[in-house]
Symmetry: C2
Subunit: 114 residues, 2 copies
């Protein structure tokens, strides 16, 4: 599993319009081979800043499969004009994840994602 | 639910040592009131860069509850010397999440996290 990460700075005051377009665009990215899930979060400290997290089966599912697909043209058309500056996208591999056990005396559960 | 986000640039070649310390430190943050879960991911393009995602019940559980706790001193002692530069931490609120339906003809499932 690969995590695609992008910090999206949206031209203000286009935040509501961006969120509506992003909801529409979600169906596009979700139709791509190798897509697992995605989340969009809005920054509390900088309200026109968003965090996009997309989980893919492999790096190439994003870098080649999605970016060279006809669906990517629709994605760009819906979203790219909102960004200033244009975002840098990076990819990450899981090192660990950890969850509340609902009891502080339980054994910690550290698990490799890879 | 609040998502704490930090990009961690770790002094090279201390990556393995950092990952071991982070595994140990995980039990500390997980013991704090309002903690839900956290994940550490390693960047593919910049191998000494990590992404930390921590989910908290409220913003104050992190900014006040954790940062003013005695446990935070242990966390700092284990981890802060690995970072260069010292990371900026931001907090995010969920806008949407979306998951593969395992069939492309299914209804999209867009869900508000808030």
């Amino acid at each position: 599993m690969i995590l695609e990460v992008a910090i999206l700075n949206v031209r203000s005051p286009m935040e509501s319009e961006f969120e509506a377009a992003f909801t529409k665009a979600s169906a596009i990215i979700a139709s791509i081979r190798g897509y697992i899930s995605h989340e969009l979060h809005r920054c509390i400290e900088v309200p026109n800043r968003y965090l996009l997290l997309v989980r893919w089966q492999t790096l190439e599912d994003h870098t080649t499969g999605f970016r060279r697909s006809p669906e990517y043209d629709q994605w760009k058309q819906l979203l790219h004009h909102f960004y200033d500056p244009f975002p840098t996208v990076e990819h990450f591999e899981g090192v660990l994840q950890y969850q509340d056990n609902s009891t502080q005396n339980a054994e910690p559960r550290v698990k490799n994602l890879q």
